[in-house]
């Protein structure tokens, strides 16, 4: 390891200060500060549109002009001949700035630009979404003239253009500040919109053949569903230019054939709405638009800003803990915006965090407790509404019976607040007397539980967003950051752009996200991650290693101080991989952070929602740890004796035990059975359970089997905290007034019915209870032992004999992970958002494609003994041979449910028989069977 002279922790280099004068005030700012920022610090507000602190300066709108004078070589302060854009010029020593406050020239320049901006701007503020919160409106009031001198013809455009099913563009409102295009290019890396045309017809747009004047006669998306009804008609009639000729002339026809071929090739980059994939972060452009040009389809024309009540909150869709703002009116959430939190999500959130909130008020929302009776044969009757008193009594009696019989399994799900998680954990141990508790509603392993107990639980804040941004190298070990932790991806991308972070991705192919991080693929067949990770441990010095081998580069880079390994959830199911990560970290000195997909998982680990863990990282096997818990919970007598020293069953174990009667009952939180590795088995198991209690927000497969359903509050109706993957506590208050109970209160009441005090009767009590039992200071749980991967088909095996998918037969190793936008119930009810999801495809390498007789665009069937998934093929460059990838839980591609398979399993792949037509035709017939 290289020796570096590191500065002591916490020491920050003093920025060099620069003295200057602004509006007669002498001040000092750090070197490199833009004039406009320096003015802000002194309380001088310079109007602006294109300027944004997180984007590179553009100097396009010219609204922020100020007068600047600078000392020449002799030290005489000389005014610059022209007013300068304060958003592009940094403060230099001795500079004298006069803003509109003190300079008539700057004031007139600003008034002049404002007049020009307003000249072509429509006066539709009364119907514009931005009206009331519009920087143009506000600054026109403060810096504009009262009347216009413009009496000529305004520029107009047909409106609106749909940039995606979610984002609409009203071009006549646009002031062409380029914030949206700069965001898309600089921050998200999805340049799905750009400036086009020029001069007064310059406009923001996506690649739209109609607007650019070489449209095809058809819509091109095949299903006519390329937007919601109100957009389709307008975009069809739309052109941005004077008519350039008949669109159906013969020459056009010829051009269109070529265009279709090109479109088919890039179909993998198509979204579910039929347009080219835009971005997972496009909603941020709506928020930073300084006018009402960009609007979200779901909020458009729904409300006025001044009617909304805004509440800060935390997003529930991933483990990043993004700060958001919830805007509601009369008990209904109308929109969500990104909050500002420089240490976590800066000012950006994913589209899922922004738009996917309707699930919380979906029609299938549970509002009263439900109870069902079973007949003597055990067959279930219908669920019927019940009072809380009755439901709690029935539930308590049933759980008590099951507890007394073979015991109760606890499946709380991964989306709980830490207060809820803590109550669940305590309920399992104190009330049900079991360690058969596991929050993981996904592929998992005992090895992962050991990894979490050893390396994650009770470690407090580990790697932070800020450290990640400055890390010299980051290995994404089984993590697709863009799909699974959106703002983490953005922060990584910032690191790549600003600090030269090198990103390596352990995956079977370089995803779009990895490509946008300028990342290097460290190829790995699913299931062989442990072998590949072990290969990175020592310096790769094998003389046969070709120059530029990604493994050698990764191995070298991880040795740099500050390097980080990010572990994603799909590593859990890859045998030996979690252990291999820890060994790699020990060998290279890299730090490890675990980034689960679900918002509650880190908090759940801290609360002990694992079969081997008590709260605070306490091993269940450690007597001292159990003693601390007993003391903190004030347990005595029977309750104290219930704390078991033996690790319990994990999710799969609980399901298995239920199916054969080794457990008599279960209490289940927000678990989707389709998310489990074998949903059919889980359905059978829960069906066989003697007694089933469900705590749910909405009707689900579990509630359909439950004997008692206790309705609980969605995040928007309750207070709580998530622990994000950093280990940072992200607390939020209830946005809406509600009588709905959070999980911890329902469990508290249920425990009371069973004669126990859970100490979680109020949000405050629940919150304090978490803090009362701090992190474990005793010996940590041991690291997971090294496990041999089930097969070592990766590059480590020199001969491909016997390896699936190498051409001998039609088998391939399944690779899969979840997309940010897919079939998840958290996105229910948001059709505009759903249209921006990536269209599901089957990915194979070109070698594997030829071996399997597949080609780009044809329909392929991925088959197991359980079922088949049929999707169009996207031959993927640089993909590992012998592997087939499909999305884990997207529309038409429910891997666990349909195939009963998990990544690493061997599946069969063949061309779909049904697709007899041409390649292009078969794509247009749709993505799902």
């Amino acid at each position: 390891m290289t020796v570096t002279t590191s500065k002591p922790e916490g020491e920050v280099a003093e920025p060099k200060m620069v003295a200057f004068t602004i509006d007669g005030i002498e001040a000092q700012v750090p070197e490199g500060t833009l004039i406009i920022r320096a003015a802000e610090q002194l309380g001088i507000e310079i109007p602006r549109f294109c300027d944004h602190p997180l984007l590179e300066p553009a100097g396009a709108c010219r609204q922020c002009l100020v007068e600047v004078a600078m000392p020449d070589r002799e030290g005489n302060v000389r005014p610059m001949p022209k007013p300068q854009a304060s958003c592009t010029m940094t403060v230099t020593p001795g500079m004298v700035v006069k803003t509109q406050v003190t300079s008539p020239v700057a004031d007139k320049a600003q008034q002049g630009v404002m007049e020009l901006l307003l000249m072509n701007h429509p006066l539709d503020c009364p119907v514009c979404d931005k009206g009331g919160e519009c920087p143009l409106q506000n600054q026109a009031m403060s810096a504009g003239r009262a009347d216009t001198r413009f009496e000529d013809v305004k520029r107009t455009f047909p409106k609106p253009v749909s940039l995606s099913s979610q984002i609409l563009l009203d071009r006549e409102r646009c002031v062409l500040c380029q914030r949206c295009t700069r965001f898309s290019d600089e921050i998200a890396g999805d340049a799905f919109i750009a400036l086009q045309m020029r001069g007064a017809t310059q406009q923001i747009g996506r690649f739209d053949e109609k607007i650019l004047g070489f449209e095809s006669p058809g819509c091109g998306c095949g299903d006519g569903g390329c937007g919601s009804a109100d957009e389709t008609s307008s975009s069809a009639a739309d052109t941005g230019v004077p008519d350039t000729g008949a669109p159906d002339s013969p020459g056009r026809e010829a051009a269109v054939i070529g265009a279709d071929a090109a479109a088919a090739k890039s179909r993998a980059e198509t979204d579910a709405g039929g347009q080219g994939f835009s971005s997972y972060f496009s909603g941020n452009t709506v928020q930073i638009c300084p006018v009402g040009a960009l609007t979200g389809a779901s909020y458009r024309f729904r409300s006025r800003p001044f009617d909304l009540v805004s509440v800060p909150s935390i997003a529930e869709h991933d483990s990043c803990g993004s700060a958001i703002r919830i805007d509601h009116r009369r008990g209904q959430v109308l929109r969500r915006l990104s909050g500002e939190d420089p240490v976590v999500n800066e000012e950006w959130i994913t589209d899922k965090d922004r738009f996917a909130f309707t699930w919380q008020s979906a029609p299938d929302r549970l509002t009263t407790p439900l109870v069902r009776e079973r007949d003597e044969a055990g067959d279930r009757g219908e669920l019927r509404p019940a009072s809380w008193a009755e439901a709690l009594e029935v539930a308590a009696q049933g759980l008590a019976r099951a507890r007394a019989a073979a015991g109760v399994g606890v499946l709380p799900g991964g989306r709980l607040t830490v207060e809820d998680a803590y109550a669940w954990s305590r309920f399992a141990r104190q009330v049900l007397g079991t360690n058969d508790v596991d929050q993981r509603a996904r592929a998992h392993s005992a090895e992962e539980a050991e990894f979490l107990a050893h390396a994650v639980a009770g470690t407090g804040i580990g790697v932070t967003f800020a450290e990640l941004e400055k890390a010299p190298a980051v290995l994404l070990a089984g993590l697709e950051a863009e799909e699974e932790a959106g703002v983490t991806f953005l922060r990584l991308r910032k690191g790549v752009a600003k600090h030269g972070t090198r990103v390596f991705g352990l995956a079977p192919y370089a995803s779009r996200g990895l490509t946008k991080l300028s990342g290097t693929l460290v190829p790995a067949v699913p299931g062989t991650e442990a072998t590949v990770l072990a290969g990175l441990r020592g310096p790769v010095t094998d003389p046969t290693t070709p120059a530029g081998d990604p493994r050698a580069a990764a191995s070298q880079a991880l040795r740099e101080q500050g390097a980080v390994i990010l572990v994603g959830e799909r590593l859990a199911a890859s045998r030996g991989a979690c252990a291999a990560v820890l060994e790699l970290a020990a060998a290279t000195g890299a730090r490890v952070a675990w980034i689960p997909r679900r918002a509650g998982e880190r908090g759940g680990v801290e609360a002990g929602l694992l079969p081997n863990l008590l709260p605070g990282g306490r091993p269940v096997t450690d007597p001292a740890a159990r003693a601390e818990v007993t003391a903190a919970w004030g347990l005595s007598g029977e309750e104290a004796s219930r704390l078991s020293a033996a690790p319990g069953l994990d999710t799969a174990g609980i399901i298995d035990a239920l199916s054969v009667g080794h457990l008599s009952g279960a209490i289940v939180g927000g678990v989707e059975l389709a998310d489990l590795p074998d949903p059919a088995h889980a359905r059978t198991a829960l069906g066989a359970a003697g007694f089933l209690v469900s705590l749910e927000v909405r009707r689900s497969e579990v509630t359909d089997l439950a004997d008692v359903v206790l309705p609980v509050a969605p995040p928007v109706e309750r207070a709580g905290s998530y622990w994000n993957w950093e280990g940072r506590v992200r607390s939020f208050g209830a946005a809406l007034d509600s009588t709905a109970l959070p999980d911890h209160r329902a469990l508290h009441a249920l425990a009371a019915q069973l004669g126990s005090d859970l100490g979680a009767g109020t949000p405050g009590e629940a919150h304090l209870a978490v803090a009362a039992l701090g992190a474990w200071t005793g010996p940590r749980a041991g690291a997971p032992g090294a496990r041999t991967p089930e097969f070592t088909a990766a590059g480590a095996t020199p001969t491909p004999a016997g390896r699936p998918g190498t051409g001998a037969d039609d088998t391939a190793v399944l690779a899969s992970w979840r997309m940010l936008l897919d079939d998840a119930r958290g996105q229910d009810g948001e059709r505009h958002l759903a249209g921006t999801a990536k269209r599901p495809v089957v990915r194979v390498s070109s070698t594997t494609a030829s071996a399997l007789g597949l080609s780009d665009g044809v329909q392929a069937r991925v088959v197991t003994g359980r079922g088949a998934i049929t999707l169009p093929v996207a031959v993927t460059a640089g993909m590992v041979d012998g592997v087939v990838w499909v999305p884990l839980a997207s529309s038409g591609s429910r891997v666990h449910d349909t195939l009963g398979a998990a990544p690493g399993d061997v599946v069969r792949v063949r061309a779909a028989q049904a697709a007899g037509g041409s390649a292009g035709k078969s794509i247009d017939t749709g993505s799902a069977e």
């Binding site: 010219r62 007139k108 002049g112 020009l116 013809v153 020029r198 007064a200």
Partner: protein
């Protein structure tokens, strides 16, 4: 009395003047042979000593520009020749490249050698396909005899020249927009700093010079900086192409030392066409403020023209006689600027859109009394507020024409129309297009840009 002085134009009347053999027969490539025996730094000094100023309009000293390049760090550095000649009235580079392209090629080789460039680019305006072809052939000719390629003339110096055709945008004559366009991006000006000398093409040190500037280098090297400084004035040395167009008896290229006057040039060109009186003229293209007959004796050098309130620009002398309506002429120029505004910054994009409409109204007889003041105020809000100099240029014809011909504007407003007969200024009978602000308004068509120009 200053006489014409053919240097760049010397061989234009030779048979097949564009051929390398013709060029060599007249002493071509002597400069290169001499240059390759000199140290690059001496070459830069020679050009500095010659006082050669950029011939593309701004007049920045070429040697000084070369000297701004940071010290060699081993990475590539580039010469980019700006051949995107698009200014209304400017027509010197295109005939030069047509008639004697080897002047430019030799100049580009010497300049590249002086600044340590091994790959030079010539960015040619896309509309002039014939020039593009001629340059491609000229580069191929030079390559065949070893003036380009590796180890040029045994000197160890390597150079490739890529001729690139633009897609037809005035803005791409702005050097940073040109670089973006050359890189395959949308042609819009870049934020400066960093300047091209530090981060230009592909973020590497880059010199961007006009065609005529580069073409002037071989002569300076061959004959010495003293030969060059002997021509012109103290601060505006050397020879330059003066492009006379409009109502002149013999329009065309007149090469003369800087400091010659229009009166002298008119004598060479046979005077105003048909003996009519000169009404107004541009000294350096449409972006330079107008002159009138009172400026006939203003020496055409950078300092004198600047002192008289205009700019030498590209020495594109467009002459307009008494039959021309100045409002109409300015309105057409403004159409051009509105059409060619790149759209990046508010003042130029929106301002030209508005200016165009006001001028069309005035010309069409729908002007109002306050329009002239609005025009002037609008120009004040554009000049110096736009992102690049092209916005500034759009205001020059308007402000200068109002300065000299305010009464004529007022006459359009008072008389509800144009007092001139547009066909009187043409050599052939024609029916002028009617300006139609009202018609455009009624049809809802976009009149600001895109709709005009052609």
């Amino acid at each position: 009395m200053t006489d014409l002085l053919p240097v760049l134009t010397d061989t234009w009347d030779a048979p097949r003047s564009w051929r390398l053999s013709t060029y060599e027969k007249h002493g071509g490539y002597a400069g290169l042979k001499k240059a390759l025996r000199m140290a690059p730094s001496d070459l830069v000094q020679t050009v500095k000593d010659s006082g050669l100023r950029g011939r593309g309009g701004a007049g920045f000293p070429a040697g000084m520009k070369w000297g701004f390049l940071p010290p060699d760090d081993g990475g590539p550095r580039y010469l980019v020749v700006n051949a995107d000649e698009s200014e209304p009235g400017t027509c010197k580079d295109i005939p030069l490249m047509m008639a004697s392209p080897q002047h430019l090629i030799e100049g580009a080789i010497i300049t590249s050698y002086a600044i340590g460039c091994n790959h030079a680019f010539i960015y040619v305006r896309g509309e002039v396909l014939h020039v593009y072809r001629r340059l491609l052939e000229a580069v191929a000719e030079a390559r065949r005899v070893g003036y380009l390629g590796t180890n040029i003339l045994g000197s160890g110096f390597d150079l490739e020249i890529t001729v690139h055709a633009g897609a037809g945008a005035y803005i791409c004559g702005e050097e940073t927009a040109l670089l973006d366009s050359l890189e395959g991006l949308r042609g819009q000006p870049r934020l400066k700093p960093p300047f091209p000398a530090v981060e230009g093409l592909y973020a590497r040190p880059t010199v961007v010079n006009n065609v005529e500037t580069v073409a002037s280098v071989p002569g300076i090297v061959d004959r010495g900086s003293d030969w060059f400084t002997a021509m012109g004035t103290e601060k505006s040395t050397g020879h330059g192409l003066f492009s006379l167009s409009g109502h002149v008896t013999r329009p065309g290229q007149y090469e003369a030392p800087l400091g010659i006057t229009l009166r002298e040039l008119l004598d060479e060109a046979g005077g105003m066409r048909g003996g009519k009186a000169l009404k107004f003229w541009t000294p350096g293209g449409s972006s330079t403020p107008l002159f009138t007959a009172e400026h006939l004796d203003t020496p055409l050098d950078y300092e004198s023209v600047g002192a008289a309130g205009s700019m030498l620009g590209t020495r594109a002398l467009q002459l307009f006689d008494e039959t021309v309506c100045v409002v109409r002429a300015v309105s057409r120029w403004t159409d051009f600027y509105a059409h060619e505004s790149c759209g990046k910054c508010t003042p130029c994009r929106e301002g030209t859109y508005w200016l165009k409409q006001i001028l069309h109204r005035i010309e069409g007889g729908e002007g109002q009394d306050q329009d002239i003041d609005v025009l002037l105020d609008l120009c004040d809000n554009i000049l110096g507020r736009a992102f690049c100099a092209l916005g500034d240029g759009a205001t020059s014809p308007i402000t200068s024409s109002i300065q000299y011909f305010r009464d004529e504007y007022q006459a359009h407003i008072d008389g509800r129309g144009c007092p001139f007969d547009p066909s009187a200024s043409a050599l052939f009978p024609y029916t002028p297009r009617t300006p139609m602000p009202s018609a455009a308004a009624a049809s809802g068509q976009l009149v600001g840009a895109g709709g005009g120009g052609h």
